[in-house]
Symmetry: none
Subunit: 80 residues, 4 copies
DNA sequence: ACGTTTGCGCTTTAGC
DNA sequence: GCTAAAGCGCAAACGT
């Protein structure tokens, strides 16, 4: 069944693209680990560093959240 | 205190490297989502595709062992 | 403005009811975790158990259909 | 195999306890939905309400996060 | 009613 | 090995 074979090839290509991207992603995650390792070697406390990264991300999210809330309120009150 | 500033700069650079890497990682994760979206548009079942990706990531032996254990548990519970 | 206060109280009560319910929900989720912990202590594989729970939740037909589709995809990719 | 049967019963009981708890959890989730439905019927904007619930939870979490950060800093600086 | 989008829960992974 | 956090998948909720 030719159609089945063609579809199988298409499916395989899609799967392989995904797997390739996930490998790249993992490589970057490893880079992150390396940076923490380097920081640790220079005497920094990585636990504190992780907390800082996390808080900075949260601050950003909170700001977006606040904006979203404002939009919702405006919509709820019929403002534009 | 000059020394403190230098250390602060160093720490800041490390933090920024990490944040930059995490942004890249997120971009790739978005690419993965796009590929699944494309697959869906072509009529593939993405849920099954995700399972395939997971299975291919596993070693063949691990996969067969996990499967065997699941069969044992299913039998114990009368699940068919 | 009395009317505003009354509405504010009403809203507040609704919010509190929701928060109370979500706390109860979380307590039960913790109980579930405890049972899995107990199972693990008795030597069961919790990962497989979770899979069993998921399978039992599915209708038998759905389960068999999902399984059949997975086999088709696996065959298309030569996964054994 | 008697031992297998006994284990099967034990496993079944654990699974059933989990399933029972998850039913309770679902019932509570449905209650939450009902409260939102009631609020909507009284003219409240549920999207805004959901945001409020979420923000209140976040505030609580943020406070705990801040406490954790303080502890980490103290530990990093050798304070007690 | 359907499709899209967001939020929630679970799974898995990383650190201790 | 265990606990905690991050990432992912699913499902409900909203808008069209």
């Amino acid at each position: 069944m030719a159609e089945g074979s063609i579809a199988a090839d298409e499916l395989r290509l899609l799967i392989e693209r995904i797997e390739r991207l996930e490998e790249e992603k993992k490589a970057i995650a490893d880079d992150v680990k390396d940076v923490y390792g380097e920081a640790k070697a220079r005497g920094y406390d990585t636990k504190t560093m992780r907390m800082i990264v996390r808080l900075r991300k949260m601050d950003k999210n909170d700001r977006q959240e606040a904006d979203a809330l404002l939009e919702i309120y405006k919509a709820a009150l019929g403002l534009e």
